[in-house]
């Protein structure tokens, strides 16, 4: 059994690392980052559960039960973040406030109670025989309203994933919606069955752990597909920007070329009019407006140059603006 849990921890850590690397690429990918945090906390959750499995007394199991409660609280917060990022929706503030209140209450229970809100009255360490003839231990207790609320909060958080998955499906994002509902539904069912077990005094292992394993596996694949699709979109956008930049650059160059080519005729006019004015003083009054026009044309050309030259530099070295 220990081997299986360690395998699950290894999977969670490696999946978390993979998505942390993907998420930390610029621009930050919030969904991958949130999923990485969820996976890290899931690994911590498995580890705390493993310590309880291997505990030989209730006193030894108690601190791990408290830590487990804190990890679950943080996990619920991270999973809420993940859901919002994955579904790309703005969650109503009252709902966020309720969720945060639940997380805080859950974490606080680890401080004010001996074993956290998930363990009820009269706790006892019970051995469960495994198929390989080994024995692991779980904490049994008489569940009260607080414990039901604890498991209910966890189940509701994952149930939100099922609902969001259905909404995504209806919105047209069928594959993403199906994946989300498919990975969160087993966790909801697992948590529900664990609650039934505790209420009935059953001794089977946590089924929610199995749901969590499937969540990490399937969701990781889905996020990988998402990441690839986003990467393709980004590449297409960058290619489009590069094409627009090239077009703009060509327009700027063409405008500057026209401006440049005007200068030689303007130089001819400038010198020609100056000589004519010297040769024929009687015509100076007639020539003066023409000379002024040449000066004005030259100034207009310089104005065009000033306004376009900055664009030429910016288009040639777009990274300078970053």
């Amino acid at each position: 059994m220990t081997f299986v849990v360690w395998t699950a921890i290894g999977m969670s850590v490696s999946t978390g690392l993979l998505h942390a690397v993907l998420g930390l690429r610029r621009p930050w990918h919030a969904t991958s980052l949130a999923f990485a945090v969820v996976m890290a906390l899931q690994a911590a959750w498995y580890f705390c559960g493993l310590q309880i499995y291997e505990a030989t007394s209730l006193a030894a199991a108690a601190p791990w039960a408290r830590r487990l409660t804190v990890v679950v609280a943080l996990g619920m917060a991270a999973f809420g973040w993940f859901l919002a990022a994955y579904a790309r929706i703005a969650i109503p503030r009252p709902l966020i406030a309720l969720h945060v209140a639940g997380v805080v209450a859950m974490a606080a229970s680890a401080v004010v109670t001996p074993m956290g809100a998930g363990v009820g009255a009269a706790p006892r360490l019970t051995g469960v025989a495994m198929l390989d003839d080994g024995v692991v231990h779980i904490i049994e207790s008489d569940l009260g309203v607080v414990q039901v609320a604890f498991f209910g909060f966890v189940a509701l958080t994952f149930a939100a994933g099922v609902v969001l998955g259905i909404q995504l499906y209806r919105r047209g994002e069928r594959r993403r919606g199906l994946f989300l509902s498919a990975v969160t539904a087993p966790v909801v069912i697992g948590v529900g069955l664990d609650l039934v077990r505790d209420l009935m005094g059953g001794t089977w292992l946590d089924l929610s752990e199995l749901g969590a394993v499937s969540l990490s596996l399937v969701m990781s694949i889905q996020l990988g597909l998402d990441f690839r699709a986003d990467d393709r979109k980004l590449a297409a956008t960058l290619a489009g920007v590069a094409q627009r930049t090239a077009e703009l650059s060509a327009m700027v160059e063409a405008a500057l070329e026209v401006r440049d080519r005007l200068n030689t005729p303007l130089q001819n006019l400038e010198l020609g009019l100056a000589m004519r004015a010297e040769d024929a003083p009687a015509e100076r009054a007639t020539l003066a407006p023409m000379q002024a026009a040449v000066v004005e044309l030259a100034e207009l050309g310089r104005a065009v140059e000033r306004s376009l030259a900055g664009g030429r530099v910016a288009l040639a070295h777009p990274e300078a603006d970053r």
């Binding site: 500057l256 401006r259 440049d260 080519r261 005007l262 200068n263 030689t264 303007l266 130089q267 001819n268 006019l269 400038e270 010198l271 020609g272 100056a274 000589m275 010297e278 040449v294 030259a298 310089r302 140059e305 376009l308 030259a309 030429r312 530099v313």
Partner: protein
């Protein structure tokens, strides 16, 4: 004292003719006009005897530029002043290249007769 001889290089024949006329009127004793590096090289002795070289930067598509003329003149020992005349923007790569040359000066077209006069004055020895 009259200004010395001027080498004027531009691919526009009308401008060469007008510039020659204006420079002569401004007191320049001799104006050597050329349209390309090849023509400057063909008139090597006249070109190197000038005190001032006025070079257009763009001497036509796929042709050696005014910068190439500058390099050739300096290699051949031309000791006079060299001024680039250009209609191109300061951001143009060819203008930037010319501006980076040692002792070169860039002037933008169109130049007025008064500006040409001042340019020639700058070359006169102080009296």
């Amino acid at each position: 004292m009259a200004p010395g001889a001027v080498l004027f290089v531009d691919d526009d024949a009308d401008l060469r003719e007008l510039m020659r006329e204006v420079l002569l009127r401004l007191g320049v004793p001799e104006v050597t006009g050329a349209s390309s590096l090849g023509e400057v090289q063909a008139r090597r002795d006249e070109a190197l005897a000038c005190d001032l070289a006025m070079l257009d930067i763009n001497l036509g598509r796929d042709q050696p530029t005014g910068v190439n003329v500058y390099d050739w003149l300096r290699r051949e020992g031309f000791a006079g002043r060299i001024v680039f005349l250009t209609g191109h923007a300061a951001s143009d790569p060819r203008v930037r290249e010319a501006a980076a040359l040692d002792g070169a000066r860039i002037m933008s077209k169109p130049l007025t007769v008064a500006e040409l006069g001042r340019l020639l004055e700058e070359g006169r020895p102080a009296t």
